[in-house]
């Protein structure tokens, strides 16, 4: 069946309106229905997904204050840009991310694929490195060059371990 409005596309949206006991049917394509305001496009990007998720979430205020101690990213910043700041964000934002992961990937959100041969054993060391590198960036930013040099040495030392 073709869309009643544009007569070009296939009608995929079928609406039955009841007013004063009378049924009125209309058959529209997605574009016309959207132009009509009858249909809201399914959220396709992560920002939309997140926004709608946040709206549905009751603890909006708590979420707004959530931020990662490692990279400084707040959950609201993530919401705006759709990109996480560091691996630790997956821990810090575990709860609010859970709904998003389920929507994108389905109910089963436990990794069952490939595992790196040396994976997992080094997580603690990696967190420490992440922290040292953040301190280094901060020292360079505030022109504390002595501190920066010291941190650089510590990172080098650490990488050898």
């Amino acid at each position: 069946m073709l869309c009643q409005r544009c007569s070009k596309n296939e009608a995929t949206i079928h609406i039955t309106e009841v007013s004063n006991g009378e049924h009125q049917e209309s058959h529209l394509c997605e574009q016309c229905a959207e132009a009509d305001g009858t249909v809201i496009k399914t959220p396709t990007n992560i920002n939309q997904l997140l926004s709608s998720f946040i709206m549905a979430h009751s603890g909006v205020a708590e979420l707004a204050e959530l931020s990662c101690p490692e990279c400084g990213l707040s959950f609201l910043e993530f919401r705006q840009h759709g990109l996480l700041g560091c691996p630790n964000d997956y821990e810090v934002f575990e709860q609010p991310l859970d709904g998003l992961l389920t929507r994108v990937h389905g109910e089963d959100t436990h990794h069952v694929g490939k595992v790196p041969a040396r994976g997992g054993t080094q997580q603690k060391r990696n967190m420490k490195l992440l922290r040292l590198r953040r301190e280094l960036a901060g020292a360079v930013e505030s022109e504390e060059y002595e501190k920066a040099a010291e941190l650089r040495d510590r990172i080098k030392e650490f990488e050898k371990q």
């Binding site: 596309n9 296939e10 995929t12 997605e30 399914t42 992560i46 490692e70 990279c71 400084g72 990213l73 840009h81 759709g82 990109l83 996480l84 700041g85 560091c86 691996p87 997956y90 991310l97 998003l100 992961l101 994108v104 990937h105 389905g106 109910e107 089963d108 959100t109 436990h110 990794h111 069952v112 694929g113 490939k114 595992v115 790196p116 041969a117 040396r118 994976g119 997992g120 080094q122 997580q123 060391r125 990696n126 967190m127 490195l129 992440l130 590198r133 953040r134 960036a137 360079v140 930013e141």
Partner: protein, 351 residues
């Protein structure tokens, strides 16, 4: 223009030799990986980006890959070189247009390529002609093993490979096929295909991926789900379910068009051939559309004497950066139109 040589040849993934080559142009598998101990790129400062780039460049140069990898510093590359790599599907448009320390490497056959500092620290890609997802997965899996032996990836046992965008987390895998679907387009059924693909949690995009138009009736279909299923499951579902269904649908539509409206199909193909053999200037949009009609005529044996390879190559080399690389100068849109028409005439007219 360092890459002018590349522009003069066709990517081996474009040679019409693969399974179902009439409809499936290429198969691609890419993996997203990040180094442990560094923030993701949006939170990296300039120095950290440089460190990551230099480290991964160094590691790449030492990998024992079957084919050696050629490294290109994308930040320092000329715009035309960047664009050429996009046109050849070796890097993403985002990677070409971004700022800051970033790079790429590719093998001479172009079946393997990597991006450094795109959305993730490292993205590995394997490209194969036709429907060859298993081969592409094996290639990229082996490449991943080589990298992984030299570095720690950001990984959690619960969520798998940790990526900058949570839509890639888990396997970090993106499986995609490039399909040529003129039949479904002509018969107005593409909308339906796109809708049902979305219902199966697949993304349908244009020629150059995210945010691009479906020029020349080419569509890229890829998985959305990366977590909760293994790489092989994701590939099998794609290989055995989704792709054959769309291919079958396109084939049936072409057959139907041929049975019921052969004159229509012939008219499209031969008009396209006539215009392409005679045009003195032609835009990329028009050439894509006409080449698409002609390609359908060739795969249905309605137009003889033309090889699929020739057409595939024309699709590739009539793009803006290719034309300019081949001519070795920057050209205005008008100059490109003339050069494009001339090149097409040469390829499509005997003698």
């Amino acid at each position: 223009m360092k890459l002018a040589e590349l522009a003069k040849r066709s990517g081996s993934w474009l040679q019409g030799e693969g399974p179902l080559a009439g409809i499936v142009i290429s198969s691609r598998v890419r993996l997203a990986r990040n180094l442990a101990g560094y923030p993701f790129l949006s939170r990296c400062d300039h120095q950290q980006k440089l460190e990551i780039q230099e480290f991964l460049r160094q590691q790449t140069s030492e990998l024992a890959t079957a084919e050696p990898l050629e490294y290109i510093n994308i930040d320092e590359a000329e715009a035309l070189d960047q664009q050429l790599l996009v046109e050849r599907h070796l890097i993403s448009r985002q990677h070409a247009e971004a700022n800051g320390a970033r790079g790429m490497a590719y093998s001479a056959s172009e079946k393997i390529s990597i991006m450094i500092n795109e959305e993730d620290h490292l993205r590995l890609q394997a490209l194969q002609p036709g429907l060859r997802l298993d081969e592409a997965w094996q290639e990229v899996d082996a490449l991943d093993d080589l990298f992984e032996a030299k570095m720690d990836y950001a990984f959690s046992s619960r969520l798998g490979y940790l990526t900058a965008c949570p839509t890639n987390v888990g396997t970090g895998i993106r499986v995609s096929v490039m399909l040529h679907l003129p039949g479904l387009k002509m018969s107005g059924q593409m909308e339906k295909v796109i809708r049902s693909a979305r219902d199966m949690h697949l993304a349908v995009r244009g020629l150059h991926g995210e945010g691009t138009q479906a020029a020349g009736d080419f569509y890229q279909v890829s998985n959305q789900r990366t977590l909760g299923a293994s790489e092989q499951q994701i590939i099998d579902e794609f290989k055995n379910g989704v792709v054959p269904r769309i291919v079958d649908y396109e084939q049936k539509t072409r057959d139907k068009l041929l049975t019921e409206h052969a004159h229509f199909v012939d008219d499209k193909a031969f008009r396209a051939l006539g215009t392409l053999q005679n045009a003195r200037t032609i835009s990329s949009e028009e050439s894509l559309e006409l080449l698409s009609h002609l390609r359908m005529g060739v795969t249905l044996d309605r137009v003889s004497g033309l090889k699929l390879d020739t057409l595939n190559e024309l699709f590739l080399r009539t793009q803006a950066a290719h034309l300019q690389q081949i001519e070795n100068r920057t050209m205005s849109a008008e100059e490109r139109g003339v050069a494009r028409a001339k090149y097409i005439r040469q390829e499509l007219n005997p003698n």
